[in-house]
């Protein structure tokens, strides 16, 4: 035990925990013998796809499993207390919140909307320590200050809706640390936040951890976050920890095929013009008994033994272990051959040539587009005077944070709003306003949309067959029933789904499969231009790669043009030819992809780029965050204009700023 790399005492230990849920008469084994130790003051990240059991595992630490779930095996120990013996609420109240605290994913829903944030912090202090209310209030204000909330005395009396998402998450964290817990579990604490805010919250947690000497457990699927914060990483799959090690070991010397696959499918590591590494299929169904290595069915390099015997844990180093047969002495040759092959593939891949804009043909022009909405009797501009062109065959990405108006632009192009100001021209014809049936039909055949949420974008009451052929029915694009079925079958095959799936209802499919059904529905019209509205942001990392590859493949084979709407710059860099950055309804900068990453000019773009997480612990820990504030601009007299500052590089700036930007470009050469 002495030489396991941990320098501080062990305070928590979970051994071989098995958790089962009773769901509709069937038994789901959510945890299949997971073990984990926590040491004082350290940061551990638990990584895995949704459904791998990471949330269930940590919930069991504080007795918060859902009613239909129970711990059926193993042991959970906190210091000298055996938590497996805890049965009543009274037992759990001794440690819940007081010793082990938890922060949830969505700050928008974590706070009670009808009580002031002050009350919600104070009540924890008074309950756990029996402090007088006045004293507790003072402490609460102190904590609010500590988590970076200005004017804490005043904000103490405010309600959650008066805070922005990032500020709410600070309040949630303040509540969680109000009792100085020894262990803080953060369940996807930044997933619901914008990138720039995300980085700030991670920094805050790190500072607090140092100050309060807490042990922090992160649950996340975002490897960028892991690289940023973690000392130790545990990779979870199908209810087990499959690999454990220091953050450097996991990122640089991963041995479990699942860990490797997760890392390789990050778009940051992809090479443009090539397929991203992707994990096939979906996580296993935990209602069924799993034989052998749970990951084997999705692992193209699995061995025969993986399907037959469950692998034991092998130590790689003193601090690093993994649960895979690849580490067995018998597999040594095979492992070496795999490593050699991977190295060779990496060398062979060369980035594709950038898109050639010199002879490019304009497909879509957006001129001075403005979209106004009424909100509570007030008019506000979701999109404010936006202009850009899209060339045939390119992928233009529209990047911005939530509420920036990026989706509204996509929907305006798709003619979903009755009234927009400005002009949208497709193939030299204006498409805003009323159109006759023939023109509408033509547009529906040429322009299609892919939606964000694969759960909401498919009609639950219709079979896949109808969903995919909806467009065919609308314009009767088939000769007879046989022809229609054939078309459906072909398109299903093209997006990588079995044609048998056509007779099923959408809810039986996983997120990635549903997204592919959605893509098939659009493709069946044979469009030239596709608006992809955050098509991957609701998906797991491993599934994202599948969908990105599919979109790229379709683009190549069908010569498509994409308007790709996203909030994640790392994905955008991999997929797009040009990038437009949008903030508060206005596009602030537009340039070719590599140009934008190399020479960002607008302070907002710079802030956005500085916050992008990168799956490398060394880069991630040394990055410098830039902060954007709209007060940086003085637009009182000198109004900003949309200007082409160098060839193909557009920026929203006033004359004074333009001058500064020109100087900056000169200096860079």
């Amino acid at each position: 035990m002495s030489n396991n790399g941990h320098t501080s005492p062990k305070i928590f230990s979970a051994q071989d925990v098995e958790i089962k849920f009773n769901l509709r008469g069937k038994v789901l084994t959510a945890l299949r013998g997971a073990s984990l130790d926590l040491y004082e003051g350290e940061t551990l990240a638990i990584v895995g796809e949704s459904g791998c059991g990471k949330s269930v595992f940590t919930k069991s630490f504080i007795g918060m499993l859902d009613k239909n779930g129970s711990i059926t095996g193993g042991k959970i120990q906190y210091r000298d207390e055996d938590l497996t013996n805890y049965k009543t609420e009274k037992d759990w109240l001794k440690i819940r919140g007081k010793k082990i605290a938890m922060v949830f994913q969505d700050p928008m829903t974590s706070l009670n909307p009808v009580r002031t944030i002050g009350e919600q912090i104070t009540e924890v202090i008074t309950w756990h320590f029996g402090t007088e209310h006045e004293q507790a209030k003072k402490e609460a204000i102190e904590i609010l200050k500590k988590v970076g909330i200005n004017d804490a005395e005043y904000r103490y009396k405010q309600y959650p809706h008066e805070f922005s998402g990032g500020m709410r998450q600070r309040v949630v964290i303040a509540t969680a640390i109000a009792c100085r817990p020894e262990i803080l579990i953060c369940d996807e604490p930044t997933t619901a936040l914008d990138v720039t805010v995300q980085a700030q919250i991670l920094n805050l947690i790190r500072e607090l951890q140092r100050e309060l000497k807490m042990t922090v457990v992160y649950i996340t699927h975002d490897l960028g976050v892991v690289a940023n914060v973690a000392d130790w990483v545990a990779v979870m799959y199908a209810g087990q920890i499959v690999e454990y090690g220091t953050v450097h070991e996991i990122f640089n010397e991963a041995v479990h095929p699942y860990t490797k696959a997760l890392l390789q499918s990050m778009p940051q590591l992809g090479i443009k013009g090539h397929d991203l590494y992707s994990i096939k299929g979906t996580p296993p169904n935990l209602f069924k008994e799993i034989r052998g290595d749970a990951f084997a069915p999705r692992n193209a390099d699995a061995m025969d033994i993986d399907f037959e015997e469950e692998p034991p844990v092998f130590n790689v180093t003193d601090t690093h272990y993994a649960k895979t047969w690849l580490l067995h002495p018998y597999a040594e040759d095979y492992r070496k051959s795999l490593d050699e092959r991977d190295a060779q593939i990496k060398q062979e891949k060369k980035a594709a040539e950038p898109f050639n804009y010199t002879d490019a043909e304009k497909l879509l022009e957006v001129k001075n587009l403005t979209v106004k909405f009424k909100l509570g009797g007030k008019e506000f501009r979701a999109v404010d005077d936006v202009s850009f062109d899209i060339f045939k065959g390119e992928t233009l990405s529209l990047v911005g944070e939530s509420g920036s108006g990026k989706t509204t632009i996509g929907r305006a192009i798709m003619r979903i709003y009755n009234k927009v100001d400005g002009q949208i021209i497709f193939r030299d014809e204006p498409i805003t306003g009323k159109l006759d049936r023939q023109k509408k039909k033509k547009l529906h055949m040429e322009m299609q949309m892919i939606f964000q949420d694969p759960m909401a974008s498919l009609n639950e009451r219709a079979k896949v067959d109808y969903i995919v052929s909806e467009g065919l029915y609308n314009y009767h694009l088939f000769d007879n029933e046989k022809d229609r079925l054939e078309k459906v079958e072909n398109i299903m095959r093209e997006v990588g789904l079995s044609s048998e799936f056509a007779s099923r209802f959408p809810h039986e499919f996983s997120g990635g499969q549903r997204q592919r059904i959605g893509i098939a529905r659009s493709l069946v019209m044979n469009p030239d231009f596709i608006v992809a509205d955050e098509p991957i942001s609701a998906l797991d990392v491993s599934i994202r790669a599948q969908v990105i590859n599919l979109l790229n493949k379709l683009k190549r084979e069908r010569d498509l043009t994409y308007l790709f709407i996203a909030h994640d710059l790392s994905v955008v860099r991999f997929i797009s030819d040009r990038i437009a950055v949008i903030n508060k309804g206005r596009i602030v900068e537009l340039a070719e992809c590599e140009e934008l990453f190399a020479h960002p000019l607008h302070p907002y773009t710079k802030a956005l780029l500085s916050a992008v997480p990168y799956p490398d612990p060394d880069i991630e820990r040394n990055k410098k965050l830039l902060v954007y504030n709209k007060d940086m601009h003085d637009y009182s007299t000198d109004k900003p204009v949309w200007t082409e500052i160098t060839k193909g590089h557009f920026i929203l700036a006033n004359s004074k700023e333009l001058e500064a930007y020109r100087k900056e470009i000169e200096k860079q050469g």
Binding site: I95, D106, T109, P113, V114, R115, E123, W127, A176
Partner: protein
């Protein structure tokens, strides 16, 4: 906030006016025979009757009648009863009856809130156990069976079992018990049903999970977090409770012979007293609009989220 109140006031005023005009005009459709005091129809000839109608202004254009009615209204003149209490000014009648109905209404409203919310809390506390099932059974009976039927049996049997008076007598305090309880039965079921439903909905929300994770005991979370959120949507419907009680008073007041406005309306209808029906219906309609208005204001006062959006 001020702007919001003003907007809501104007809105309610518009509704009152529309309701008022609609009801008044509808009643103009009634045959004129309903405007004769008792026996006048038989005893007099055609010409006397016509001149009587003309005198009463009943042959005028409805719009003219409406304006006259409103004019009189502002002078405190509501017209006179025709058949129930011939020639007695309706204002005198109402002045006498409203306090009785109001007393019953308020006491049963109070009882309804207290017992209804307690029952709802009990049902949440013992969810899917006997307390919950009993409550559900009670709600089922009250909401599914026509109220007249159970009210009748309560009057006949319960009064017998507990030796309570079957009809209302002004100076007999025990005669208040049954009518007040009967009047609140519907509200109790209503509050219990919705409080339970809202609380069960709230229970699954993230902030409740977070409150539990903070280490607060379930009881405290139930009281301080869940209840507080579940009660807000109930407040919106508080005026519906008023409607409920008004509705109930029609039956209950005539069952127990309570000299209130509800019973008066039933009697007026049975004896076809057009003037009286008109005034009471209008009164109820206006009262309801005011109730809805107050409910909205109450919600704005209770729910911190509303205040801000209206201020912006």
């Amino acid at each position: 906030m001020g702007k919001y109140i003003l907007k809501r006031t104007l809105n309610s005023l518009l509704t009152v006016i529309i309701v008022f005009v609609a009801v008044f005009m509808l009643l103009r459709l009634m045959p004129l025979s309903g405007y004769f005091p008792q026996d006048m129809l038989k005893e007099t000839d055609e010409a006397t009757r016509m001149s009587y109608l003309r005198n009463q202004g009943l042959l005028d254009h409805p719009v003219k009648q409406l304006f006259r009615f409103i004019g009189n209204l502002f002078q405190g003149d509501l017209g006179r009863s025709l058949t129930v209490y011939p020639k007695v000014p309706i204002s005198t009648l109402l002045a006498e009856k409203i306090p009785v109905t109001a007393a019953f209404g308020f006491s049963s409203m109070l009882l309804g809130i207290v017992l209804g919310l307690s029952l709802g809390l009990l049902m949440v506390r013992f969810k899917d156990r006997w307390g919950d099932r009993l409550g559900t059974g009670y709600i089922l009976i009250v909401r599914a069976i026509p109220n007249l039927i159970y009210l009748f049996f309560i009057q006949v049997w319960i009064s017998l079992w507990f030796n309570l008076p079957m009809v209302f007598k002004k100076d007999l305090p025990s005669s208040w018990i049954l009518p007040v309880i009967c009047l609140s039965l519907g509200s109790i079921a209503w509050y219990a049903l919705w409080l339970r439903r809202f609380m069960v909905d709230e229970e699954n929300r993230d902030y409740v999970k977070f409150a539990l994770v903070k280490g607060l005991p379930k009881k405290q979370v139930l009281r301080r977090h869940i209840f507080k959120n579940a009660i807000i949507p109930l407040v919106i419907y508080l005026p519906s409770d008023l409607l409920f009680i008004i509705s109930g008073s029609l039956v209950i007041e005539s069952l127990y012979a309570i000299p209130g406005t509800g019973g008066l309306l039933t009697t007026a209808i049975k004896s076809q007293d057009n003037n009286l029906v008109q005034v009471i219906v209008l009164m109820y309609a206006v009262l309801s609009v005011i109730g809805v208005f107050l409910g909205d204001l109450l919600v704005a006062a209770v729910d911190p989220r509303i205040k801000l959006t209206e201020e912006e």
